[in-house]
Symmetry: C2
Subunit: 485 residues, 2 copies
Amino acid sequence: MTQMTVVDVEVCVVGAGVSGLKCAHALVNDKSNKFSPSDIVVLEAQQRIGGRILTDTSSSKHGYSYDLGAAWFHDSLTNVVLQESIDDGSFNFDTDGYYDDKDIAVYAEEDDGPLDMDGLKINRVVEEMEKFIEIHFFENLGTEDMSLPQILVKYMEKYGSRLTTQQKKYCERVTRYYELWDGISWDQISAKFCVMDHNGRNLYNIKGYDFVIQKLAAGLPEGTVRKNQQIKSIDTSNASYVEVETTSGLKLKTRYVVLSVPLSILKLEPSHPYGISWNPPLPKKMSKALDSLHFGALGKVIFEFDTVWWPTDQDRFLILPKANAGNVKKELDDIPPPYTYPTFAVNYAAVHHKNPRASLVLLTQAPLTNYLEANPEKAWTYYKPMLSKLAKGSNVPDPINTITSPWTQNPYARGSYVALHPGDEAEGINHFLGTDNGYGPGDERIRFVGEHTALEGAGCVHGAYMSGQREAQWILDEWKQKASL
Amino acid sequence: MTQMTVVDVEVCVVGAGVSGLKCAHALVNDKSNKFSPSDIVVLEAQQRIGGRILTDTSSSKHGYSYDLGAAWFHDSLTNVVLQESIDDGSFNFDTDGYYDDKDIAVYAEEDDGPLDMDGLKINRVVEEMEKFIEIHFFENLGTEDMSLPQILVKYMEKYGSRLTTQQKKYCERVTRYYELWDGISWDQISAKFCVMDHNGRNLYNIKGYDFVIQKLAAGLPEGTVRKNQQIKSIDTSNASYVEVETTSGLKLKTRYVVLSVPLSILKLEPSHPYGISWNPPLPKKMSKALDSLHFGALGKVIFEFDTVWWPTDQDRFLILPKANAGNVKKELDDIPPPYTYPTFAVNYAAVHHKNPRASLVLLTQAPLTNYLEANPEKAWTYYKPMLSKLAKGSNVPDPINTITSPWTQNPYARGSYVALHPGDEAEGINHFLGTDNGYGPGDERIRFVGEHTALEGAGCVHGAYMSGQREAQWILDEWKQKASL
């Protein structure tokens, strides 16, 4: 029998990613001083904090740092993380950020140089395809979902005759850039929910996102975060406290649990080595909600070179996949043929505009992410033919270093963030909110935070951050309400 | 005393523009054969039919034709006029249409060549400005309206520090292209309603829009349309019929009146020589609704040249106005200084892609439209400095011909189409629908059609067309309902 340590706390936050840290930070730093430092504990399964924010400073051969997880401030008009960081001086807009939103330079296997996207008016057609999708699903709300390639077949049937030969050749392949938003292959992407609306431009965070994590951690009393504490079970059977137990033998009695674990962990069976055992079991509507959402695997492959050999006047490159790539969602046991997936690269020679860097940061999608994160040594073999397009036919040098993200190989992450498959229900996100329609009033002591619980900024740092703030506020409000009774 | 002719009809359509003709066509051609040809009459004030569709075939020195009014199929994904014309063979997609939606080539007074819009990432900022406007007004629905330049001041105050020097220099001036959508100067444009959503690409109708009018007219029995019949009064005081009288002495007793006159006519006082006298007067809520909508003056200036001297690989040109153009809504009594207004030209050397034409079709906005339509001989003097930008500094030849649209000088048009000023209510359009909230059930015999009554396609040919169909259907439905009693 393992020895048990029992702790009594007010709030146990499970997971020291941005949402959990923000929640703990908001509770500890609330002006009402309701909580003393020892009232709050954050359990983190890993040896490091930050979750899917991970600024790697040790892998580069050039001494560069790379965000292997989140890297952009999306929705920059309404992004509270960005605004607060500018306001508190931790983010210098001129040196720490870059809008990498020049039109993407697009290449195709069959062409030598970049495509004349403007002359061929390809973006206008892609925009029209997106509008078609919106009209298709939202004019009649009950319309059945399908995959992205399936809805494009419908578009082509109806309007293909209005496209030029060149537009027909390229436009569908261009839409596969959505794979690099969702981290899944297009035949897995829900057509209904694929078209996004952005609150302003996307700002690339060239400072490295870790500063946000460090800022939050610095605002917590020493000892608040306990690392290497993997959650094992949550017991809500006692009305006066919730009992949380970790695999290392730590047992906590707490008034509230704030669950900041990824959706990928919540979706595991209780019997799974990384799953959570619930007593009593999760209510049916909750497990149904978990089934109605999927989790993607956006990854990164970073190639460092001796010198920059590609165009420096482009922010981003997209090398199109071939037209008939077939069933691309199938798990890979070797590298696929070239041009099976769209290749998307962020140009660090342009994005780091003050100090150009000799590296290309590629985004990858499942199932390629899973394969390449497990086999990083194969990455250059797969990508060399596509990246050679950027050199206009001349030989390209081999990289001096290859870095891959860890997400699919990390049992505590198991992928990247929420990604909707055909038939998924975006409304499922609502179930994480502790309302009557959520986890249920009988268990309001369990609060869910994280990017997968965010109605605004789902999948984004600021969405996770605001979700932490949201649940801290809920706990504080309930506290005040109880105090006034 | 004038001699009166009295006619008894079922439906009197007032105005032979596209909405009126479509309504009459739908009534006459309804499969139920409820109406005999003599039941329907269309009164047209002018000597010609078509209203604000006007394909000019006689003014060109090259033998070209020009649409002086509507010229695009907007919302081409859902445009019924386009779809029906393709289906019935009257519009050949390959030869009769052209998507003139290549990124606009933009020039500025202070620069020699076209701006590097992509490199300067100007469109991204303009898109963000539009998003800012949307968020500003629709996050809190009661937010007070203002003009376009006023909302941009707010954007710049809040986010100007995130723009590059070049973006600051150009972006606000680029947004003045909205003047060429609305036909009014930006300081008259409602910020709240300026950002549009389009159902697909815009297709330039190079066949000439008159074919739509001719098709509808050909489907009406001879004698249905009576020209030179300006409406003078509408009397609804008798429950068994509505009495309509024209200035030429024609008097009709009719069961229904379909009013297809422009908003500009409806807004006139009854005492105005072109106004309509109502007995009893229009209900208060109706005159209030009319006050809450404005009417723009989009016009055209067409320059024909001996040969093409400008770039042939661009669809459209935008020459930016200067930064501080001041109060540009003020009525003009002479041509303004160069660069006071944005100059927008459709390149007929590109749009007529099968047979390039040596002409530039400029769109104009009030108050410039009003001045130039009255003084066409001044048009080249005003536009020469701006259009010279397209020649990269070399001398440009004078045009061999200048054609202007007639809209502000035509007392039956008085401008172009609905355009919302700050504080206007887009919902005012609802008042034209014959519901309880509209003109009122007591006067359901009066039906309103036209672009200004269209919730979808407002200001567009297809919006006007569908409004004609809508009211024809209403009349047919009511007829059937009464027949079944």
